[in-house]
């Protein structure tokens, strides 16, 4: 509004009339058609080369970088008016971030929403794979903070691209080997490196090791996108996905030591650990809240210390 010299009054009113009306402000799914086309083409290229990171022109979104702009761009490029969308964060539909993303996608598409994994056609997730097996009609979109599995051993992008091109993953194997030699354990927790289709080393996103088996020869299409780092990659159905493992020191998932969910009683799901306000005791509940709810409706927990549903 200010200029080098005082300007004439009234001259500033004009620009406001060019603000688009609420109705026409955004195209379907927020992104313009050119953006959607580019993202779709890059997704197809990613599917054609399983596990290989494909650079793309990542757009800024109304949520912050690091908060799911990559997953969001894929979802917005994939979503159609007949889709049923589920969004989870750390396994939960109710997490504030999942709710925020869901609200936004619905706002710019009107798409139907669900918390039921089996009902969803399109699922966007941050750092977990739903416990229920996915079928061939479903798409799972992963939010990825760091797409490069070799970042643990090499900070330079220029170098890691060459390592992938030459299928030279020796430094990652060496890193794991040195862990075993020094600590008698592989210390990598989530983001465990996996070999896809026998060719590309891939970062599965920070899902727990517990979830890696679901990527191997699955029925659904898994799509990964890092918005800030500007990379798309994919694991097509029926593709080999193998965590790096030594013949004499096998890959291991997280161990919950036989603990069960205090709400549904499951011992076969990934658990969240929480400390009780009053007693200071630790409780565990399923990370996948929707699945936990399904199990509870079928058969509530039989732990005598926990109140049953009918007692609440």
């Amino acid at each position: 509004m200010t200029s080098s010299s005082p300007s004439k009054p009234g001259a500033t009113a004009d620009w406001r009339s060019s603000i688009p009306s609420k109705r026409n402000r955004y195209s379907f799914a927020f992104l313009d058609e050119g953006a959607k086309r580019e993202i779709r083409r890059k997704m197809l290229k990613a599917v054609a080369i399983p596990g290989c990171q494909i650079p793309f022109g990542s757009r800024e979104m109304p949520i912050a970088r690091g908060w799911g702009t990559g997953g969001l761009q894929l979802t917005l490029s994939l979503v159609g008016s007949d889709d049923i969308l589920k969004v989870i964060d750390q396994g939960s539909d109710d997490s504030v971030n999942a709710v925020n993303i869901k609200k936004f996608v619905h706002r710019v598409t009107g798409v139907a929403l669900t918390t039921d994994t089996s009902e969803a056609t399109l699922i966007q997730t941050r750092h977990r794979i739903p416990e229920e097996s996915l079928h061939h009609d479903q798409l799972l979109v992963f939010q990825v903070p760091i797409p490069e599995p070799l970042r643990l051993v090499e900070p330079s992008e220029q170098t890691t691209r060459r390592m992938h091109a030459e299928a030279d993953y020796s430094r990652m194997w060496l890193y794991l080997f040195e862990d075993i030699v020094r600590f008698n354990e592989i210390t990598v927790a989530a983001r465990y490196p996996v070999m896809v289709n026998g060719r590309h080393l891939m970062d599965p996103s920070p899902i727990p090791r517990w979830d890696l088996a679901k990527l191997h020869r699955g029925e659904a299409l898994f799509l990964f996108c890092a918005g800030r780092e500007k990379r798309i990659y994919a694991v097509p159905p029926h593709t080999d996905v193998e965590p790096l493992s030594f013949e004499d020191f096998a890959f291991r998932t997280e161990d919950f030591n036989g603990r069960r969910c205090s709400r549904c009683g499951s011992t076969a799901t990934y658990l969240d650990e929480m400390t009780d306000d009053q007693t200071g005791n630790k409780t565990h509940t399923c990370s996948d809240t929707a699945f936990c709810e399904k199990l509870r409706r079928r058969a509530p927990a039989e732990d005598p210390d926990q109140p049953r549903e009918s007692d609440r």
Binding site: M1, T2, S3, S4, S5, P6, S7, P9, T12, R16, I19, M61, P62, I63, A64, Q90, S92, V96, N97, V99, N100, K103, F104, I146, E148, R151, L152, E154, P155, D179, F183, E185, T187, D272, E273, M274, T275, D276, D277, G280
Partner: protein, 367 residues
């Protein structure tokens, strides 16, 4: 750092100042009052207080107005004012578990004793440019707020204090104290009275980071988070709230509160494969004036990064980080290149020409 006074062209300099004033105040919009800045641009005010290292919201707002929105300049003005203030004494050390919290979250656990209190944050909003703000009026704003407060009814009071998440980890032996890089000293050192030397003790380290420029701290911490370094952080706890200033009354000998300040505190937990080994977490600590979460988190990551005994990247080099995060120093030096350097440049020209003329024709370096 001494700057050679620009001499000559005094009239030009005066005109530049007048021109600058016209540039700031010569538009058609209504005059900006510092209270508007303090209330409605409160995050800029908080940033300026932190970087200016002076807790004074009204003065920070005034400095921001004077600087026409340049946060480096505003923090600089505040620091300059700080120099004129006598040091009356020191407040009592305290622990932050007594904080009167307005926001308190943990990323490490889904739920924590006391609960996840989101407080006032834009974190979960959509950054869609809001054209409705063009038509905000005082009456409308007041009515909206009143209606919202009426709709709340009676709410259970928040607990007065919240336990620290990191205490839980300490009790389980999962969080261990780490060695200081520099010598441990009994009394905190004040780097504004005693210049930084290296290796710097923890108090100097934290003070330097707390006064650091937000963007600079962010870039350096970001480099570490992305892979140029070994810190893989998880936020154990982030708090925004008020701490009392407790002062020893010299007359009656009692400890009395003389006011309170708002601070942001970040405790970042990281598993680092250095001397401590991979089976323990160690803490990175960040604390700054006002509400500035980006700075507190960046500070905590850098605090941990530069405390390692095996630096693997510039962001883990204590001297590198502590020397380069002060905004007033960096901005000053960066802009000092605008000062005349023709004497030194003449000297450079002399060297270049001499070297070139002394070379054989075939050795002449192409320009």
């Amino acid at each position: 750092m001494g700057y050679v006074a620009v001499s000559g062209g005094a009239a030009a300099i005066e005109n530049a100042e007048k021109f600058s004033f016209i540039r700031r105040a010569g538009g058609t919009s209504a005059v900006l009052h510092p209270e508007q800045i303090r209330d409605q641009l409160y995050l800029a005010v908080d940033r300026i207080m932190g970087e200016g290292s002076l807790y004074a919201p009204d003065l920070a707002a005034l400095a921001f107005k004077q600087a026409a929105g340049d946060t480096f300049e505003a923090a600089f003005i505040l620091r300059s004012y700080r120099t004129t203030l006598p040091r009356l004494g020191y407040s009592q050390a305290l622990t932050t578990d007594i904080m009167r919290v307005t926001r308190r979250i943990s990323a490490a656990f889904k739920d924590i004793p006391g609960g996840q209190i989101l407080g006032p944050t834009p974190d979960y909003t959509l950054r869609l440019l809001d054209f409705d703000l063009l038509d905000e009026s005082e009456e409308e704003m007041k009515e909206r707020i009143d209606a919202f407060l009426r709709s709340l009814g009676t709410l259970p009071a928040l607990p007065k204090t919240f336990p620290k998440v990191v205490e839980m980890l300490r009790r389980e032996g999962l969080l261990v104290p780490r060695a200081s890089v520099g010598e441990d000293v009994a009394e905190p050192i004040d780097i504004t009275r005693q210049a930084l030397t290296f290796p710097a003790p923890r108090s100097s380290q934290l003070q330097t980071l707390a006064r650091g420029e937000t963007g600079g701290l962010l870039a350096l911490a970001y480099s570490n988070m992305r892979g140029y370094g070994s810190v893989h952080p998880v936020i154990g706890e982030l708090r925004v709230g008020f701490l009392p200033i407790l002062y020893h009354n010299p007359v009656n000998g009692g400890i009395e509160p003389v006011g309170e300040i708002q601070v942001t505190e970040a405790e970042v937990i990281s598993r680092i494969p250095d001397g401590s080994g991979p089976a323990v977490f160690s803490l990175g600590y960040g604390l700054c004036f006002g509400h500035n979460e980006t700075k507190a988190i960046a500070m905590a990551v850098l605090d941990r990064a530069i405390s390692t005994d095996t630096p693997s990247a510039p962001s883990e080099d204590q001297e590198f980080i502590l020397t380069h995060v002060d905004g007033i120093e960096s901005m000053g030096f960066c802009n000092h290149y605008k000062l005349p350097h023709y004497v030194t440049f003449q000297s450079e020209l002399d060297r270049l020409r001499t070297i070139q003329s002394g070379q054989q024709p075939s050795e002449k370096t192409p320009v």
